[in-house]
């Protein structure tokens, strides 16, 4: 079989990464897809067994379970912080999809998104038209705000709010995609290339309003080059978010890669607690089902992951749920709108700006 030969000629996985797993199963409890199915195949341990079978050639590259599980995985990396052996699952998944999603085997919607993400100039123009943040190039040499590709036109006010909160940031329009989309969807080399390009375009510290982008950039450029907005702001917030004469009740939905990849989860909570009544909803650290392209590639599964989360958010009686990643924001908004919920989803930058703009209570 030619596929087998190809598998033998080119190593798919970094062997050192694959052999780290001792199959203890400690990851099962953290995995959202295992929670949905109870099936070992859709657990991190099971998927690593599948990767090993692919690597060893005991399963052929065209095996349907391989294809299904590489796609069913959210890529949320919740298995990493609970893994005592230190398995770098996110890295392994990138390598797996790099093999599994080559050419025509890549889901069409992913091909479309990557095609769109590659249109950097179009994003720049759309961002300007939609009113995303912009500062003239070379005006501010210090830390720069990353504008993202889709966030610019989907949620242009987020970068404006970020700039209002941290006016010293540079926000040059000429900056490209971070490459996370590519890396997580079968093009790890191209992803790395884009991340490095962006690193060159924004040579100082990069501040991001997207947890997913921040985590990927920091993995490529180094942790010290990249900060997520709430991490960057530290305690620099003022005012209060109020609703009907009282302090608003606010919760946070973590960004998976920000939490599991960068270890940032205390910071946004501290900021929200400073301007509102912070309520921790059980399961806030678990994936919302947006998961990059997942909500488009597997809309049904995405909703199955989201639904219990929305139940918990509604049960907590909060006014706002804050997101730290545009994908999560979109997912939460759509989900809450579908069930005509009174809870509103906002990006943390917008909530903090709301607080800063409010008059302090007399």
């Amino acid at each position: 079989m030619t596929g087998d030969q190809a598998a033998q000629n080119r190593p798919i996985f970094d062997t050192g990464l694959l052999s780290r797993c001792i199959s203890c199963g400690f990851c099962l409890a953290a995995c959202p897809t295992y929670a949905l199915t109870g099936d070992e195949a859709s657990s991190p341990r099971g998927r690593i067994t599948l990767m090993r079978a692919l690597d060893a050639g005991t399963l052929p590259p065209g095996d349907p379970t391989l294809a299904e599980q590489a796609s069913f995985c959210l890529g949320c990396r919740a298995c990493e912080p609970v893994c005592p052996a230190g398995v770098q699952y996110g890295e392994l998944l990138e390598q797996w999809r790099g093999y599994q999603w080559t050419g025509r085997r890549r889901p069409p919607v992913v091909r479309l998104l990557i095609f769109a993400a590659e249109r950097a100039r179009a994003h720049q123009i759309a961002g300007r038209l939609r009113g995303a943040a912009h500062t003239a190039a070379a005006e501010r040499p210090g830390p720069a705000l990353m504008l993202g590709c889709f966030e610019r036109s989907l949620f242009p006010q987020v970068s404006r709010s970020a700039l209002a909160l941290a006016p010293e940031l540079a926000a040059p329009t000429r900056q490209g995609c971070c490459g996370a989309l590519h890396a997580h969807n079968g093009e790890p080399e191209r992803g790395r290339q884009l991340a490095e390009q962006l690193g060159a375009q924004l040579p100082a510290q990069i501040v991001s309003t997207a947890g997913g982008c921040a985590a990927y950039l920091s993995a490529v450029l180094g942790r010290d080059r990249v900060m997520e907005l709430s991490e960057y702001l530290q305690a620099r917030v003022t005012g209060q978010v109020r609703i009907g004469g009282r302090l608003a009740r606010v919760t946070l939905q973590d960004s998976c890669h920000l939490r599991n990849g960068m270890g940032v989860w205390r910071e946004p909570r501290a900021l929200l607690a400073a301007v509102a009544e912070y309520v921790e909803v059980p399961g806030a650290g678990r994936c919302c089902g947006a998961a990059g392209t997942y909500s488009l590639v597997r809309p049904r599964d995405s909703r199955r992951v989201l639904d219990p989360k929305l139940d918990a958010i509604e049960a907590a009686g909060v006014d706002y749920v804050a997101a730290v990643n545009p994908g999560c924001l979109r997912q939460l908004r759509q989900g809450l709108r579908r069930r005509k919920s009174a809870v509103r989803a906002q990006h943390i930058a917008d909530l903090l700006r709301m607080a800063a703009d409010s008059r302090p209570p007399s």
């Binding site: 199963g25 195949a41 079978a53 052996a85 230190g86």
Partner: protein
């Protein structure tokens, strides 16, 4: 792996009809993930994976399997360490994943009823909602199932003061391989009708019946729970302190130790800031009335000081002690940071021989030129010497490790101990069973097995099976 299905098509059709087609897995990849559990070096491809919804479905599946002589391997989370859920003879893996409901918590009777697939943690959380407490605390509690805990009589970190799983099983619902559903025990602490089948089934490793429901005894949740630690130059010193602590009349809820290698591995994962120069760590904990805990901590600290502890820390707040305990539970997987193949053992000796056993393990490691990291439940004499090897392809190293462990078992038995304290026999310890039990007892075990399972379909190649050469031939070096 692309062999012909060994289960006849009409049987597969019946399995589909029983459990529903969406709960049967037959594809190569779907089955491959059930070929192993948390035990290294054991591997066996099942022919089908079925996830039934309840005891009735299991009864129909087992009747079918008995009729057609198809092996059935019950599986909870697959987190056991004795290859108890590896389908060495193929057949059907019976996953209990769908049976995951806590049926009731009865505070007035201090018990809970749970379906077999509920996690240990899930049962503990349900009990905690009523101010109650399920004490058994195996390292894998976040994933392990209560049915699996009962089937292996899981131990854990609280064994010394609270005992192990068997001390909390009041009753079981079990499906026999011949298809009958029986209830053993019940809701009563006192009930002596018939042989104690509840005890017999606890630790039976899925060889006598499939446990579908567990009635577990609970205790009131202790008012306070604290953890502290002491550092020593060597594990032997720590072992001496353990003897003194218990001689002083203190029964701590937790008394765990780790050697230097284990401390390094745990530190790499948990970043707790453990002492970098000490040779051994003794982790102690107690719970109960605040004044009692304070007093027992004073006595533990005094005993450690007497035995030359380098440093003693009594972490005050609960978050801190939870972090310590969590880190301890993760020792085994964390050890794989030192080498990608970790084979761990589970020897248990009477407490007075603990220090001696530790010394013997060191000598055995040197003799066979293997790296052994030792941690374990010092309080109950249960040790987990773990051989750390570079990779699974190091066949020479594996052979040396196996010789070393044969010596470890013999040393344990010589000291009045046993070959497995809490992990179970499964396939991993089967070769040592006769040495530990003697021919007469082994024969009785096999007759009991036949009484429950005349066709020999339940978990063949494990505890209670006839010892045949085939059991070892099925072991694969593939990880």
């Amino acid at each position: 792996m692309v062999d012909e299905p060994r289960i006849p098509r009409p049987v597969l059709a019946e399995l589909r009809a029983i459990a529903g087609p969406e709960h049967i897995r037959l594809a190569d990849g779907e089955r491959a993930v059930y070929a192993r559990d948390a035990t290294p070096l054991f591997h066996g491809m099942p022919d089908a994976v079925v996830a039934p919804a309840d005891a009735d479905q299991i009864a129909r599946i087992l009747r079918l399997a008995t009729e057609h002589r198809i092996p059935v391997v019950p599986r909870g989370a697959g987190s056991n360490l004795c290859a108890a859920t590896v389908p060495l003879a193929g057949g059907i893996v019976l996953s209990t994943a769908r049976m995951n409901r806590v049926i009731e918590v009865a505070p007035d009777e201090m018990l809970a009823r749970a379906q077999t697939g509920v996690t240990t943690q899930g049962l503990g959380d349900a009990a905690a909602e009523h101010g109650l407490f399920y004490p058994p605390d195996p390292g894998s509690r976040t994933v392990s199932t209560i049915g699996g805990n009962v089937a292996t009589c899981a131990g854990g970190l609280r064994g010394l003061k609270y005992g192990v799983t068997r001390n909390y099983v009041l009753g079981l619902t079990v499906v026999l391989p011949t298809g009958e559903i029986i209830r053993t025990g019940g809701r009563l602490w006192k009930d002596v009708v018939g042989y104690d089948l509840t005890r017999l089934l606890t630790g039976s490793e899925g060889t006598l019946g499939v446990i579908t429901e567990v009635t577990a005894a609970l205790l009131p949740r202790p008012e306070t729970s604290r953890t502290g630690l002491a550092y020593f130059d060597s594990l032997t010193d720590a072992g001496g302190a353990v003897a003194d602590i218990i001689a002083a009349g203190v029964i701590p809820s937790t008394l765990e130790f780790l050697d230097r290698k284990c401390m390094d591995a745990v530190e790499q994962y948990a970043h707790l800031g453990l002492h970098s120069g000490a040779g051994a760590l003794l982790l102690f904990g107690d719970d109960g009335d605040d004044a009692v805990v304070t007093r027992s901590f004073e006595r533990i600290a005094a005993a450690c000081k007497n035995r030359g502890a380098i440093e003693i820390q009594t972490a005050g707040d609960i978050t801190n002690s939870e972090a310590l305990l969590t880190a301890r539970r993760c020792t085994l997987p964390a050890l794989s940071r030192l080498g990608s193949l970790t084979i761990l053992e589970d020897a248990s000796v009477p407490r007075p021989h603990l220090a001696e056993m530790v010394a013997r393990i060191d000598a055995i490691a040197a003799k066979h030129r293997v790296t052994i990291a030792t941690f374990g439940h010092a309080g109950d004499g249960n040790l987990h010497p773990t051989c750390v090897l570079e990779s699974a392809s190091d066949t020479d190293g594996i052979a040396r490790a196996e010789r070393a462990f044969a010596d470890v078992f013999r040393a344990a038995i010589e000291l009045g101990g046993t070959i497995t304290g809490e992990h179970g026999v499964g396939a991993a310890k089967l070769p040592y069973l006769e040495e530990r039990l003697g021919t007469a007892q082994l024969g009785l075990l096999q007759r009991i097995k036949t009484a429950f399972d005349p066709a020999g379909i339940l978990n063949p190649g494990k505890l209670g099976s006839a010892l045949t050469g085939q059991d070892n031939d099925d072991r694969s070096g593939q990880r």
